[in-house]
């Protein structure tokens, strides 16, 4: 059996002003083919106006084991949210 085509991750921007969003992956020999295939696989019903492709091998992700170390510290910093500061009813536009 011959070697498999590399895997690409596909990101689609659905409308102007929104960010590209991960929609899935597919196999292709190069970026050009990945974009062409992404058009056929992920935008058959006007789902997008822009496509990004990146080789899956080039994506680095945080590890589930590091979840606490990475995300726990923000749990006790509620003062980062505006709702932490009660405002008097009389004060407007704030």
């Amino acid at each position: 059996m011959s070697s498999e085509w590399p895997l690409w991750e596909i990101f689609i921007r659905s409308q102007h002003g929104l960010a590209h969003k991960h929609v899935g992956s597919l196999h292709a020999v190069d970026a050009q083919m990945a974009i062409r295939n992404a058009r056929d696989v992920y935008t058959r019903r006007n789902e997008g106006i822009s496509i990004w492709v990146a080789r899956s091998a080039d994506i680095h992700a945080s590890s589930p084991g590091d979840k606490d170390a990475l995300f726990e510290p923000s749990n006790d910093k509620v003062y980062r949210h505006p709702t932490f500061f009660p405002m008097p009813d009389e004060v407007k536009h704030i």
Binding site: M1, E4, S25, R44, A61, P64
Partner: protein
């Protein structure tokens, strides 16, 4: 159903007392409806079962293109032809979403295809029946895609993130499939007596195989119980089958077609239709490879794969040559 009789590799549902601390933590997260993602720890049996299930599902989508593809060149109008091509293309897309979901579990696409071609992994029994007339295309959309929706909607909530997300995409597209099928049936049933007879003949042939899609009865299915525990099977075979019958019989009534079951009757007490006995002997024969089209389907798939080998190799060689040239120029 698209994945029938998925082997979980366990002989009975695992007891909490026998679980390792890791397995218990895993089950707790499933019970709390936390999605499992590719890099999370998971029990080997969960991983293997999911690979088997998603893979069967993917193969079903791809093999399912064959019976319908059979009618693309003979569709009765340009509109019907364009619609059928779009539908068959969707099925190919669904297969791809699913293969990608399975790949996140650490199995390669080529390995899955090799498993299919070697007969180590099945696809749905329904695709081993022939499409003899144009009415079969209507009936497949109406019944087979209808049954698929019934099964896939709950799977949008399954415990494995990539599978659930693939199912959401699939379900969005699937209701077009069911409606285009029913639309074909409507046209035939409003047509000449010959056309209506053709629609009735197709329903007669597809009704029972469609009910078999949901898999064997629930009683004593240890795999179903373990899969339910893992939330990769959310409703039982019999529950889904009953829902399908309840939903479909009034649709057949509207078409003026008779469901080929003389024991079919509304049961006011249960609030459901009662229906006749399914020929499980036939189901098991089809699963074993002895259905009307099993050999033909596999031969067609294998031929397509082998005939396409030079294209895959050439495309890869071309891309490598270009990449080398760019490196050289840089």
């Amino acid at each position: 159903m698209y994945a029938q009789m998925v082997d979980t590799g366990v002989s009975k549902v695992q007891d909490v007392a026998q679980m390792t601390p890791e397995e218990r933590a895993f089950q707790d997260r499933i019970d709390a409806d936390v999605k499992v993602e590719p890099k999370d720890w998971m029990p080997e049996a969960y991983r293997r079962t999911l690979i088997r299930q998603i893979q069967q599902h993917a193969h079903s989508e791809i093999v399912g293109m064959l019976p319908e593809g059979n009618w693309i060149t003979r569709a009765p109008s340009l509109q019907r032809k364009a619609t059928l091509m779009a539908k068959v293309q969707d099925e190919g897309g669904h297969g791809l979403y699913l293969y990608c979901a399975a790949e996140t579990l650490g199995v390669s696409r080529d390995a899955m295809i090799a498993d299919l071609h070697a007969g180590r992994v099945k696809y749905s029994s329904i695709f081993n029946y022939p499409t003899l007339t144009w009415a079969d295309i209507g009936t497949i959309g109406w019944l087979v895609d209808g049954a698929a929706i019934m099964n896939q909607i709950p799977l949008c909530r399954c415990s494995y993130g990539p599978y659930a997300r693939a199912m959401i995409r699939v379900c969005k597209e699937e209701s077009f499939h069911q409606r285009q099928g029913y639309d074909i049936m409507l046209a035939l049933c409003r047509g000449t007596p010959e056309q209506k007879a053709m629609a009735q003949d197709a329903l007669n042939r597809w009704w029972w195989p469609s009910l078999m899609m949901f898999g064997p009865p629930d009683a004593a299915s240890v795999h179903s119980a373990q899969s339910a525990r893992w939330k990769i099977k959310l409703l039982s075979n019999d529950e889904l089958r009953q829902r399908f019958v309840d939903q479909t019989v009034p649709q057949a009534d509207y078409l003026g077609l008779a469901v080929p079951d003389d024991r079919l009757a509304w049961n006011a007490e249960r609030g459901h239709y009662d229906f006749g006995e399914i020929d499980w002997q036939e189901f098991h024969e089809v699963i074993k490879g002895n259905g009307p089209c099993n050999r033909e389907r596999m031969q067609t798939r294998i031929k397509a794969w082998e005939d396409g080998a030079w294209v895959r190799e050439a495309a890869l060689a071309h891309a490598e040559k270009h990449a080398a040239r760019e490196r050289h120029a840089a």
